[in-house]
């Protein structure tokens, strides 16, 4: 009898209190990491002011460097956001980036700017391969992309006979060295950062404004419900892994443009971890179905600001690794905290 009473009483007030709480959670989730980014910037600026006597962080030149450094990770993170929203993971993006950079620089030696489409195609191909294995053979994403991370790394080394390929006259280097005027004469956006912003914008459009986007969220939220609603889950899975591969390919072209060179062994090492860290820092849940592309942009900026700041503060690269690792763990802890909060009905 008391149980019945409790159930009856429960039906009404559930509306009021948790509503405010979920609004707050939702607000925390979307704006979530922006305050962290701002605080991080202020701390680093203060730190450089204290240790170096001048605030070197918040200079136009340094901020432009930060944006450049964040660009490739943002692009990889955008692809990773699609994948993680479906509840999957793509460990192969670093290797795909290396392979795409190899084909891109190699192709640019003979075919000039065709190096860019070649990079995109290389990435798309490997991404589709991941997607086919996951969507049709139904292997777990972690296993598939762990395998392709290793195999594609090997292929990247194979393609350059395990050497570095150079092209000092890389025809599309302008996407890195050039810049896009925002306020002509005053504010310019580095080329790579502009590309990253376009990728973020397109990703937002796909996730929020298209049928495919809703279905990506649906597959991540409840694959059974998605399937029973008549959604072709394989289309969604194929798309997200292909998109992740394609964007890793774009990352390869961006990286080639920045370095005028590509190396199958070193390029893109552990980039997948930075991309995952950016996505998780951005509030996207590892379980799938919850998250946003803006969060990923913020997450990538946090990582770039942190790296840049630690260098400016003269922290040794050994300690940089330790701090970065702790940030990744902290990010997953945050993910858990958020999940616990939202699991309440």
């Amino acid at each position: 009898m008391t149980e019945k009473g409790a159930l009856m009483a429960n039906t009404e007030p559930t509306g009021v209190v948790p509503l405010r709480r979920t609004r707050l959670k939702g607000w925390m989730r979307t704006v979530g990491m922006l305050p962290v980014l701002v605080i991080l910037c202020i701390l680093i600026q203060a730190g450089t002011l204290y240790f170096n006597g001048e605030g070197r962080f918040l200079s136009a030149q340094n901020l432009s460097i930060v944006l450049q450094q964040a660009a490739i990770n943002t692009v990889l993170g955008a692809g990773m956001t699609f994948v993680i929203l479906t509840g999957g993971i793509d460990l192969s993006v670093g290797s795909i980036l290396a392979a795409a950079a190899m084909t891109s620089v190699t192709a640019s030696l003979d075919y000039g700017s065709l190096g860019i489409p070649v990079a995109l195609l290389t990435g798309l191909l490997f991404g589709l391969l991941n997607g086919v294995l996951i969507a049709f053979v139904r292997l777990p994403p972690f296993i598939v992309t762990l395998g392709s991370m290793t195999a594609v790394r090997g292929i990247a080394r194979l393609w350059g006979n395990d050497t570095t390929v150079f092209n000092p006259e890389l025809p599309f280097a302008g996407i890195s060295s050039g810049s896009v005027p925002i306020v002509p004469g005053y504010v310019e956006l580095p080329g790579l950062a502009a590309i990253a912003l376009v990728v973020i914008g397109l990703s937002w459009f796909i996730l929020r404004r298209t049928v495919l986007g809703v279905r990506i969220y649906a597959v991540g939220g409840n694959p059974d419900a998605a399937r029973l609603s008549g959604i072709k889950v394989w289309v969604v899975l194929l798309f997200v892994y292909a998109a992740s591969g394609l964007l890793a390919g774009l990352g390869g072209a961006m990286s080639a443009a920045r370095l005028y060179a590509a190396n199958g062994l070193q390029l893109g090492q552990s980039y997948e971890l930075d991309a995952i860290a950016a996505v998780i820092l951005g509030g996207t849940s590892f379980v799938g179905g919850i998250g946003s592309i803006w969060g990923t942009l913020i997450g990538a900026l946090i990582i770039a600001v942190l790296s840049n700041g630690l260098i400016l503060l003269g922290v040794s690269d050994i300690w940089q690794l330790i701090v970065k690792g702790l940030v990744i763990i902290g990010a997953v802890a945050l993910d858990r905290y958020r999940l616990r909060g939202s699991a309440r009905t």
Binding site: K4, L7, M8, N10, T11, T14, G15, P18, L19, T22, R208, R209, T210, V211, G213, V214, R215, Y217, A218, G220, G221, N222, D224, A225, A226, R227, L228, S229, G230, I231, G289, I290, S342, T345
Partner: protein, 255 residues
């Protein structure tokens, strides 16, 4: 087969359906039917095969043998999409909503409305969803919230609104009240009565006889994958049906 309670042809006939998973016969040569405006309860213990049987109708499983007839015509149901095209909608206790998406998103999941440019028409979907849901449940206001923040009854309203919006003629309700409190269970019972009046045929699946005895016109009982029998609710007592569920024996009365 069974005499027609409405004097019209059956809406659904499932004939001699068998499904096995590996060596296990989940459903063994079962035949059931459903008439327009009728509620047929499928009763049986967990694992009796009732959910598996109707999943053939909703397109989630394929039968190894047997026939499905809709309006007297043989049909092939290969996917949930095929089932929906035939006017068959399913309301699952837990499975069918994406908890992270709001009510309009769930209502149109898999059948999203788009603008002429091919982008999502959020305004049209929200408008249609609001109408469909408010018709069922006037207290439902939190339409833009992820459905995981809603109560069980509200979630069930979303699922039922989805079925109604797409003009379901055959409704499969798999344990629709299992997660609900008594007040909400009554709401769902009211809804079922109203759906019946619209001429919709309903398969109501449950393992609890008390949930369905007052709602069902006929009761089909399954045990260990086999059909124990189909009886008219007015001809039997709850004890008779309980005997069918537990012992797998048909009651003495003719049905």
């Amino acid at each position: 087969m069974t005499s027609s309670p409405m004097g019209v042809g059956p809406l659904v006939e499932m004939r001699n359906i068998s499904i096995h998973f590996g060596g296990i016969k989940a459903v063994d040569d079962v035949s059931i039917d459903l008439y327009p405006g009728e509620v047929v309860a499928l009763l049986g213990h967990n694992g009796a095969g009732k959910s598996t049987l109707v999943k053939v109708l909703s397109g989630a499983y394929r039968a190894n043998s047997g026939q499905i007839l809709i309006d007297g015509r043989t049909v092939e149901i290969g996917s949930p999409r095929d089932a929906k095209a035939l006017g068959i909608e399913t309301i699952y206790q837990t499975l069918a909503l994406a908890e992270n998406i709001d009510a309009p998103g769930n209502l149109f999941l898999g059948r999203e409305l788009t603008t002429p440019w091919g982008t999502l028409d959020d305004a049209a979907m929200e408008h249609a969803a609001r109408q469909a849901i408010l018709e069922l449940n006037p207290n439902f206001t939190r339409i833009k919230e992820p459905v995981k923040n809603l109560s069980g009854g509200q979630r069930q309203s979303v699922a039922i609104a989805r079925a109604l919006h797409f003009k379901a003629r055959i409704l499969i309700m798999d344990e629709p009240t299992a997660a609900l409190g008594p007040h909400e269970t009554r709401q769902v019972a009211d809804l079922i009565t109203r759906l019946k009046a619209k001429g919709i045929g309903i398969f109501l699946i449950s393992h609890d006889i008390h949930d369905v005895f007052s709602l069902a016109d006929r009761i089909s009982v399954m045990k260990n994958g086999k059909l124990v029998g189909t009886v008219r609710t007015q001809d039997v007592t709850q004890d008779d049906v309980l005997g069918m569920i537990i012992l797998g024996k048909r009651p003495k009365i003719a049905a």
